[in-house]
Amino acid sequence: MAGGAAFLASTAPWLSSCTPEKLAEVKKEKARVALIGSGSRGQYHIHNLMNIPHAELVAICDNYQVNLDAALTICPTAKGVKDYREVLSDPTIDGVIIATPLYNHASITLDAISAGKHVFCEKSMARTMDECLAVYNSYVNHNVALYYCMQRMYDEKYIKGIKQIKDGLIGDVVGMRCHWFRNADWRRPVPSPELERQINWRLYKEYSGGLMTELATHQLEVCNWAAGKIPTQVVGMGDIVYWKDGREVYDSVSLTYRYADGRKINYESLISNKYNGMEDQILGHNGTVDLTRGVYYLEEDNMIPGMRQLLDQIKTKAFASIPTAGPSWKPELKSDYVPHPLVSGGISVNAGQSMISADHDGSDEILSAFCQSCITGEKADDVVGEAYSSTMLCLLGNKAMEEGRMVEFPEEYKIPYMKF
């Protein structure tokens, strides 16, 4: 995937730690890793790990026996553990993969870093801004690799899309438009009532940042990647519109993030209607890139066959006149743009409906890169900076919605990585 140092430096610097050449150097070695948190996402990682030749899953840790047993069935050679500290004190383990609920990402990550383990943690970075900063500082002060599972950063169609945006494919980037629509309540069956919060942790503010930290975090990261900057302000509204089942987190959010130069991210998520699906759109003055589908559309599309353009023009001239409102007025309906692929050949497209993930969405690549780092000790550039930035934006978005006001990016949480 990675070709040329200039390409890596300009588009995806984090790929320089996992080039095919570097992978070839470690092909006879294996990273000894442990999984902490073997719920749905953890089990998905187990499947991916079993297909990574330079990885060996030696231990699985979960404090919920049902999920631990399910995971050990998938990988019976791993040792089952209930307390993650046992994993951290094992000197033969190089790195840990944390797939626990958001509220304990920070504490487990901090303990793992202190224990000298390389860490791969699920998004988002942490439940609070203070925790994010604590993890960031700890990472800067320790010589271990830290990855956050922001898989779009390793997804070929996103990498190529951002490269083409930076090369001027759609002209100046003038805005971003992202949404994630689903029609599902996010609930999981609970075997007994006292396990409600443990199993449905996503629905309670103490454990989760709701739609922002579960979904928006991926998409805000992509916007910042395309913009090369971090927004300075956010306004938004959040409500529980449909799933009034005792949950505390919003089931409908709508926010606007504003960059210092006036560009905006319009973000929307709703989990009671799935018509619009998931889209990460980067809008340029010459065209639009839809990274989710791996396609772009041009405002003046010279790539459409000439005959088709001509017939379209004749059709528009013949049928699009609006006699009632005079010739100067024409409704600006969404035009019939022709999609052009960003990547040649078949690509995997995530429709956004799965709770766990889609095939080949970059999750396997980032996990492989982490295992490579466990062997080489090389940190992946910018992954932590990107995760920190997008998580902070999610938490600030939640703050803006809860307080019903515009929130500025706080000075005390700015890190050197960020450009505003």
């Binding site: 010279n302 459409i304 066959p305 000439g306 005959m307 088709r308 353009q309 001509l310 017939l311």
Partner: protein
């Protein structure tokens, strides 16, 4: 009932009109290629569009010819 006789001359005329439509559609294609700076290969690759345009042109011409014939027929009857 009267037999409808389609003469060789009529068939030849229809074939010529159809061919004319095809040439006209291909000329449109050539015009579009020049206008939108498209590759010359579209002369061949857009043959589907060309054929459909030709069929449409033929049908439009057929309607016009029918209308003209009908008007002429009425005019002749009035003259008589």
């Amino acid at each position: 009932m009267k037999d409808i006789v389609i003469t060789g001359k009529m068939i030849k005329a229809e074939i010529l009109i159809a061919l004319g439509c095809l040439v006209f559609a291909e000329c449109l294609n050539l015009f579009a290629i020049i206008k939108y700076s498209r590759p010359v290969v579209e002369l061949v690759s857009m043959i589907g569009y060309v054929v459909i345009t030709a069929v449409l042109a033929y049908l439009i011409l057929a309607v016009i010819r029918l209308v003209v014939k009908f008007v002429l027929w009425i005019v002749n009857r009035i003259k008589k």
